[in-house]
């Protein structure tokens, strides 16, 4: 029974790691190909949430499923989960801080652009 649970944990964990690999690959391609700074920030977040948070959860599940590690697997799983939570909290906040600073300092061109809700809220000023 416990071996079945372990197999499921390892399988799900490996699936999450594969998702992470895909996200990292997609993020690196997007980082090169997207047109402007704010669009490339999206690639940054895909890489840090999809490409780091998800595989870290996967690593935690794999570690939890590895019976041969003995009690040490819980140290590894716990470390991975804590790192994942920190990554999840800080990735969004960091990207937000960068985007806000660049937008307010007008440091990056806003072209091509679909919508600028911030400018619309302030009365539709163009820049």
């Amino acid at each position: 029974m416990s071996s079945l649970v372990s197999w499921i944990l390892v399988g799900v964990g490996q699936a999450l790691v594969i998702i992470g690999i895909f996200c990292d690959l997609a993020a690196s391609i997007m980082m090169l190909r997207l047109p402007n700074f704010f669009a490339r920030l999206h690639a940054l977040t895909v890489g840090s949430v999809g490409g780091a948070f998800i595989p870290l959860i996967g690593a935690a599940l794999i570690a939890a499923g590895c019976d041969f590690l003995g009690p040490y697997r819980w140290f590894m799983a716990g470390g991975a989960v804590v790192t994942a939570i920190i990554e999840y909290v800080l990735a969004g906040a960091g990207t937000h801080a960068i985007a806000r600073a660049v937008y307010r300092a007008k440091a990056a061109p806003l072209k091509p652009i679909v919508a600028d809700k911030l400018a619309e809220d302030r009365g539709g000023e163009e820049r």
Partner: protein, 272 residues
Amino acid sequence: MLRDVAFAVTLVVFIVLLAVATGLGGLGPLPPPRLRPLAVNVLNTTYNPYYAARNFTADAPEAVTAVVWDYRGLDTVFETAVFYGAIIGALALYREVSKRVEESRPRGLSTIVKVSTAVMVVAIAAVGVSTAMHGQLTPGGGFQAGSIIAVAPVVLLVVFSKSFLEKAGVRYAKMVALRSAALVGIGLAALAVAIAAGAMGCWGYVLQNQPKPDAPLGYPPRALDVPSGGSLMVFNVLEMLAVAAGFTVVFLVLSTSEKLAKEEVVGEEHGY
């Protein structure tokens, strides 16, 4: 395009050359894989409750911390004093500015960043304290813990503001007092066994941790059933306080606004 290719080729050639040179023995003769006598001695005595009636042991599973605060404890005490003096040097440069309070009230970064930072600051402090408290069990110790904790005020300075930190109680005078108190504590902890032995009329050493054959007093080897390394835990916690407060006060002083700093040196261009 040509530049990229040239860059890639250069990188590959460099790595291959480095690998060949290393593989052919470019690092010189490698050290033998067996332990040297000094390391064997340290490993035999660092945590050994059974060895020769506990005559020479630091009672700490972490050999590095045991060496730093027990085997060569006097050296580390002086290192702490040097760090203390170095920070005094930095503070002396800002001695007039550091006593004044900023009038401007910067708003800091946005709410999203502030909330996530508030969560992380608690985590940073927890990691720092546990690094110090587990210094005798796992890698790390007082200095590392203090450096980790000192990250928290830096992040708070950037994300919130200096006046926020000062309102929260992280002030110049408090931090200077805290690090001085921690240094005095390290000195007292170093002398504690010798003083107690003198009062009880037996032999004792400065910086003594565990009892020795001719000096029966020592720090308790366990705290809550976990090896505490005797004095190592005390030293680590005090060193953490000294280093964290020292770095914090330097960061506080360095973040003084240019306006305030210029007011203090006004008139220097006229030579007075």
